[in-house]
């Protein structure tokens, strides 16, 4: 077989999944994400579900908070796996499943616009996306990745339903969409704009051009039916979440986040939130723009990409602030860059097809180097960036201290622990007034200041230290008796406000501080405690829809859909517009 013929075939999807397994499997086996920003947070939530599946009220953070404030699916799956392989490996396994689902979703999503060959290249490219590695290994945004992967798998069913009126596609599309929402509702909400609208727009174009069975009116009507089904379903599956949000809307002071900065004014932030997530895709941007504009069917995809791209630039343009209003100050924008790269993948698949057709082996080498360079840079950046998650201290002695001699009858605080706070919380029976999830905070000492975790107070400047001071002032009120310090920055404050060092751990890396006259902690009354029926719903419905989605996929197999429009090599379609990307 000639080299040209080798490159002319699509890569089998199973091969792409195996590549994903080969690339990310070892990294996850090495537990690389365990030091990411959010991994311990996810494991903390999962640990609670493992012990109290039907009781989402968690006393360990914020003197008590409801876990119905965060969609539970990924945490519940970790909790299930943790009974067999432990919490940490449970996390890695769920992360691996999400990563393996992603190229499958990208392949199926890309086939709405391009042929199998370009779609397979798109799927293969998605394994190496810098933004994926950034989210998985640096940010630890498990739920975002899982939800995006599920949503990409749901959208082809959405297209099949609205364009071809296939009832099985409706059923599968709705159930997988609900599963995506149960993993991460924000992805579903924004996914409607960035992903679903381009699919709908494309289906309308196909209907007008009679490329599909349905009429334009039928497409609109079936879209409405799908939207109602998903809307009602998400409303029911995540009902405790919506009720919690209505009862306590997010009204806290905006918390600064670097992804909202103007990247043009700070090169480190630009590298972190633009260069690393996009990697070699930056070189493909001109092609994406030109090729995306070259066909009416690709324009919806290009527009979806462009909007996500602009949002992914954070405060570099004013558009996100204009469009999101108050929500702009609540959201972080690295996930938009991830979505933009996913939306770009079908067009990148087309680019790969063109390059391989034209340059064969040289193109294959170049594309491989670009892909490996992109993921390699993201992995290198884990240790090179100044924002890398801290917390290398051994926290086991802290956990042991809290679990002995009745110390857990008081509350505690960690300072300078970064994401290790969640690890301490997971394994101790004591509770803290701090926590690593901003949206669940209700204590006024935290919500009245533009600062996130108290353990990271110094990174939020005066607002962070004011929040910490407010909490220390009310130490007696909350039974806050022990403070563990992993950053000498906080020692002057503790000294001046009357705390004394009582112990040191890990060769002096961590010091324990205590204050006299603090009474034992008592339960802080809250109107946010979910009633028992919500706990039952929360424990049954989200995990239930995911089981249903698995059964539907495994038991009711699809007939293979023939792509609407098989892409024509660029030089054959538009011979007058040769260029090399």
């Amino acid at each position: 077989m000639s080299t040209e013929k080798n490159y002319a075939r699509p890569i089998p999807l199973i091969a792409v999944v195996l590549v994903a397994l080969a690339v990310h499997g070892p990294l996850l086996l090495m537990q690389l994400p365990s030091r990411s920003f959010d991994a311990n947070f996810h494991m903390f939530f999962a640990s609670h579900y493992a012990h109290h599946w039907f009781n989402p009220w968690n006393e360990k953070w914020f003197a008590g908070f409801s876990q119905t404030t965060y969609p539970p699916l990924t945490h519940q799956w970790i909790a299930l796996f943790s009974t067999v392989i432990g919490l940490k490996m449970g996390y890695m396994l769920v992360q691996l499943i999400a990563i393996l689902l992603l190229p499958v979703g990208v392949f199926r999503f890309a086939r709405i616009w391009v042929d199998d060959r370009a779609a397979s290249y798109a799927a293969l490219g998605s394994v190496f996306i810098g933004a994926l590695s950034f989210l998985a290994y640096q940010a630890g945004q498990l739920a975002t990745i899982a939800s995006a992967a599920l949503y990409l798998n749901a959208l082809p069913y959405f297209y099949e339903w609205i364009a071809e009126s296939r009832k099985l596609a409706l059923l599968k599309g709705v159930v997988i969409s609900l599963t995506a929402a149960a993993a991460h509702h924000v992805t579903l909400i924004f996914g409607v704009v960035f992903f679903a609208v381009p699919v709908l727009w494309t289906a309308c174009l196909d209907a007008r051009r009679r490329l599909v069975a349905g009429s334009l009116g039928g497409v609109i009507a079936r879209t409405a039916a799908f939207a109602v089904a998903v809307g009602v379903g998400v409303g029911i599956v995540l009902l405790p979440y919506w009720l919690a949000l209505i009862q306590h809307p997010i009204q806290q002071m905006p918390i600064p986040h670097d992804s909202r900065a103007n990247y043009l004014l700070n090169s480190t932030i630009a590298v972190n939130y633009f260069v690393i997530p996009y990697g070699a895709l930056i070189l493909a941007l001109p092609f994406i723009l030109i090729r995306g504009s070259s066909s009416r069917r690709l324009i919806p995809l290009l527009c979806g990409f462009w909007l996500a791209f602009i949002f992914g630039l954070g405060g570099t343009t004013p558009l996100p602030r204009w469009l999101l209003g108050r929500a702009y100050e609540v959201l972080t924008f690295e996930r938009f860059a991830f979505w933009a790269t996913l939306l770009a993948m079908p067009l990148v698949g087309l680019l790969a097809v063109q390059l391989l057709d034209r340059f064969q082996t040289r193109a294959a080498i170049g594309l491989s180097l670009a892909a490996v360079g992109t993921i390699g840079a993201a992995l290198w950046w884990l240790n090179a960036n100044p924002y890398r998650p801290g917390g290398s201290a051994d926290v086991e002695p802290v956990i042991a201290f809290l679990n002995r001699d009745g110390h857990d009858s008081y509350r505690y605080l960690t300072l300078g622990f970064g994401s290790e706070l969640a690890r301490v919380s997971t394994y101790t029976s004591a509770s803290t007034v701090d926590g690593d999830y901003n949206s669940a905070r209700l204590l006024p000492e935290m919500t009245h200041y533009g600062s996130a975790q108290l353990t990271n107070a110094k990174f939020y400047g005066s607002a962070g230290m004011a929040s910490l001071r407010a909490m220390l002032e009310h130490a007696n009120r909350y039974g806050l008796k022990f403070i563990f310090v992993h950053d000498p920055y906080y020692e002057p404050l503790l000294t001046f406000v009357g705390w004394r060092k009582i112990e040191t751990f890990d060769n002096g890396e961590i010091t324990a501080w205590s204050k006299e006259d603090v009474p034992p902690a008592h339960q802080i009354s809250s109107d946010a405690v979910p009633p028992a029926w919500q706990g039952l719903m929360w424990g049954i419905l989200p995990i239930g829809v995911s089981f249903l989605a698995i059964f539907l996929e495994l038991l009711l197999l699809d007939r293979r859909r023939v792509p609407v429009e098989v892409s024509v090599p660029f030089h054959e379609q538009d011979p007058q517009e040769h260029y090399v990307a």
């Binding site: 110094k458 007696n476 060092k501």
Partner: protein, 377 residues
């Protein structure tokens, strides 16, 4: 469409970026982490821009860039300039990050300018404002700051005898925590209390004395009660007290109740908690040349010098002052941190603010100094 759409998207994206830059985009990185350089920095074509660019570099700790932007007539060398900005000897400034600044012109001509800038520092003990006057000169087309001379004090080695009292706590078991629980608490008494209404809320202040012959860890709590006997709020003296009192020592205290109107308060319950702790009279910090004056901004302040009489460095000093009227009643308690370290046998100036309404009543004052030393923490 093939041509127009890419052009629209590219021009639109560029336009939006320019709009964000013109509307004063947010360049802030995480506080305390050296930020990257700006892709776009406007040229220092006027004194305001020159000072702004310089302070942004200081904020991001880009010392090479910042020092290069200074006038060659500056008297500070690079190391002195950096130490002036970042502090030294474990001082409060060395823990601080420049969070923001508010410059305003004092005097500008074609080639000379004087600017006054309020520097807002984020520190472990709370925000601190430092007002500096900076001279700028025009050199060619650009303006540059003339940084004044700053010399880090060098203390020669000398032997200082340690003759101060020291109390150690000998405990029966290793499980005892730092406050001893198996002996009687030291006798500590509140000797004065005064509650006042201010625009920010109610303030309870006074003095507390350790009447015992052993050192005491002291905390003063206050509870405000309304006419119906319900508790309005409970607060503590927090950092506005010297928590460790040696025998017979007196400390001012102040307890703030933000947003509480004193007129609604029927009763104030005071509660002083004391525990026996180990303590040392060393380091002794003398308060010299105290006087009430007016600062450059027209505020009434108590200012003076702190003299470290010991042989060890005091990294952070905290001054707490009580002010009395002619009847000897405490009418105000004020505090402030000194952002330079007190080296052995050397002095540093301090100033604490007094509200204008109180300053006219003040007849006398008493200053105590609390301290933090890295060597003893």
């Amino acid at each position: 469409m093939k041509i127009i759409l890419p052009i629209i998207l590219v021009v639109g994206t560029g336009g939006l970026m320019v709009l964000a830059l013109l509307s004063g985009g947010n360049a802030r990185g995480t506080v305390g982490v050296a930020g990257g350089s700006a892709v776009f920095t406007p040229s220092a074509t006027n004194p305001q821009l020159a000072l702004h660019n310089l302070l942004i570099d200081v904020q991001r700790r880009h010392w090479d860039h910042a020092y290069d932007a200074l006038s060659k007539t500056s008297k500070a060398d690079k190391e002195d300039f950096i130490q002036d900005c970042t502090g030294s000897n474990g001082s409060l400034r060395s823990f601080s990050s420049l969070e923001g600044f508010d410059p305003r012109p004092l005097h500008i001509t074609d080639d000379q300018a004087d600017m006054r800038v309020a520097l807002h520092w984020s520190t472990p003990v709370g925000p601190i404002e430092d007002v500096r006057d900076i001279h700028l000169v025009r050199e060619g087309d650009v303006w540059r700051a003339v940084w004044p001379e700053y010399k880090v004090p060098m203390v020669p080695a000398e032997v200082i005898p340690v003759t101060y009292l020291r109390w150690d706590l000998v405990t029966g078991t290793a499980d005892d925590q730092w406050g001893s629980k198996n002996v009687d608490a030291p006798r500590v008494r509140i000797i004065s209390m005064n509650a006042v209404n201010t625009a920010e809320g109610t303030i309870v202040m006074g003095e507390v004395v350790n009447e015992d012959t052993i050192p005491a860890f002291v905390n003063v709590n206050a509870t405000l009660v309304d006419g119906a006997g319900s508790i309005i709020d409970e607060e503590t003296s927090f950092d506005k007290i010297d928590h460790i009192l040696l025998p017979k020592q007196v400390s001012p205290y102040r307890i703030d109740f933000p947003n509480v109107d004193l007129n609604k308060v029927k009763n104030v319950r005071m509660d002083v908690k004391a525990a026996l702790v180990p303590a040392s009279a060393d380091p002794v910090i003398g308060v010299m040349d105290q006087k009430i004056d007016t600062d450059a901004q027209g505020k009434s302040v108590l200012q003076g010098d702190l003299l470290n009489e010991s042989g060890q460095t005091v990294n952070i000093s905290h001054v707490i002052a009580s002010f009395y009227d002619n009847s000897g009643k405490v009418v105000w308690v004020s505090d402030g941190y000194v952002d330079r370290a007190l080296l052995p046998q050397s002095s540093e100036p301090f100033a604490v603010e007094i509200p204008k309404s109180v300053s006219q009543k003040v007849q006398n004052f008493h200053v105590v100094v609390n301290q933090f030393s890295l060597a003893r923490s």
